[in-house]
């Protein structure tokens, strides 16, 4: 069963996420993805996340396909203009990739090559609409394709960035443009997320797109601090810090907190799955999936 079929049949889905290496080592992707196999329905592959050059998302996705894992490629607007985006997407479709997550992309000044020119020819909402247009059989030039791609379009949402209402407007636009699943920024602040989710349900958006909140298991208090300072749009409550820094075994505490978070999210109205983002801690995925009682159908 593909991710699309699972979403259409209203199954609770689990997604994972890996970052490709900063080298051409394809085996590293195979090693990292092994922790996810059989535990997640689909695996995100980041596209030069935080504006740092990495192995391409589409090539990594091909490696995952060969390994028997369903990939979700991320497509950002920072590095490509509309020509490159369409051509890369056609290439991805030809390789058998079916899922694409449309993002604007982190600004280039956050990366290791801040001197670069950011493209931003499209923004994420226009990208979603562009992929939807391609699905309908047309390129942005109006050229009718003989064989249109069939992408399942995903988008991201950050319920924690301000202004709160504008986030809902943007989500509305993304879903109107054609997004069918939404992966959110990692949830640490359950209160804010619950408030956001309530509004999403009120607007009826949860029926048109599957909302998959992000969960990020964290290894140490140091890592948590780094995330708060370096990742834009992260919101981590003080309570979380205290628990983590006082824990005797931070790794175990990190797992416990992630599992608690998943259980709370699972019971929330409108939540249709979980997106696990174990950045650089892939090996923890099976434990979390098992302890949280998430069942993955095959």
């Amino acid at each position: 069963m593909t991710l699309q079929e699972k979403l259409e049949s209203n199954q609770f889905v689990v997604c994972g996420e890996i970052a490709p290496p900063q080298s051409c080592d394809g085996n590293l992707i195979r090693d990292r993805s092994r922790h996810f196999k059989g535990h997640v329905d689909a695996l995100n592959i980041t596209d030069n996340q935080r504006a740092i050059v990495r192995l391409s998302s589409i090539s990594s996705a091909k490696i995952l396909l060969d390994e028997g894992i369903e990939p979700i490629i991320q497509m950002t607007c920072r590095d490509r203009n509309r020509l490159a985006i369409q051509s890369d997407l056609l290439g991805a479709a030809a390789l058998g990739i079916r899922n694409v997550l449309c993002l604007t992309g982190d600004h280039q000044t956050f990366g290791d090559q801040p001197e670069a020119k950011g493209v931003f020819d499209l923004d994420s909402i226009q990208l979603i609409a562009a992929v939807a247009t391609m699905n309908s059989g047309f390129l942005l030039s109006g050229f009718e394709m003989k064989k249109p791609p069939e992408f399942l379009i995903g988008a991201a949402a950050n319920p924690f960035a301000e202004p709160f209402e504008m986030r809902l407007i943007r989500l509305h636009k993304k879903i109107a443009a054609g997004a069918r699943f939404i992966q959110t920024q990692a949830v640490f602040d359950l209160g804010v997320f619950a408030r956001w989710m309530e509004r999403v349900v009120e607007m009826g958006l949860h029926e048109k797109a599957a909302i998959l909140p992000g969960v990020m298991p964290v290894r140490s208090a140091k890592r948590l601090l780094w995330m708060r300072e370096k990742l834009p749009g992260m919101r981590i409550p003080a309570e979380y810090f205290n628990r983590m820094s006082q824990a005797r075994n931070p790794e175990e505490e990190g797992i416990t907190m992630a599992v608690e978070m998943i259980r709370a999210l699972k019971n929330m109205r409108g939540v249709r799955g979980i997106h696990i983002m174990p950045s650089l801690w892939e090996s923890v995925t099976p434990t979390i999936v098992k302890e949280a009682g998430l069942h993955v159908a095959h």
């Binding site: 923004d123 202004p163 636009k173 443009a177 920024q185 834009p232």
Partner: protein, 173 residues
Amino acid sequence: MLLPNGQSSIRDASAKSRITPLLKHLVTLNRRPITVRERMLSHVLLFFEDVIKVPLFRCQRCGECILSSTAFICSQNCPKRLRNGPCGGTGEGGSCEVFPDRKCVWYRIYFRSRLLHRVSLLYKINSIHNWNLEKTSAWVNLFRGRIQGATLFLRNDTQRVKDIIADDAARKA
């Protein structure tokens, strides 16, 4: 069709290309070619446009003005030049992720829209920018039907927002 450099576009030559209604709203196409005369007119008008728009709105001269739907704050001052709302990096208190000392442009747009009762305009998906229109007069482009006109007066904003959301819900059913 004439491109700015006077060559004809390949789009006309291809019999297979068709501008679907979906595309028409998504991309600001080169339709109505930019003629040489129009460029000259654009130069003249741009002087007057700049006199007004640059000091008032810090206009970036994108040639495809959406000021009226962004509560009269130029969205093109965003480092990513986003036309459809803020990216996910807006910090606490609405700071820009790239220049933390600045306020996020879209943060300002949202609150100004609320103040002016123009929130319903934020629900519109703005089309993909045509870079050939960069540094041309938006007034000429509007007159030539390339870009949509401004919405100066708007009534019943709250009701409009409700209608947009309800409309969408109905479409699904």
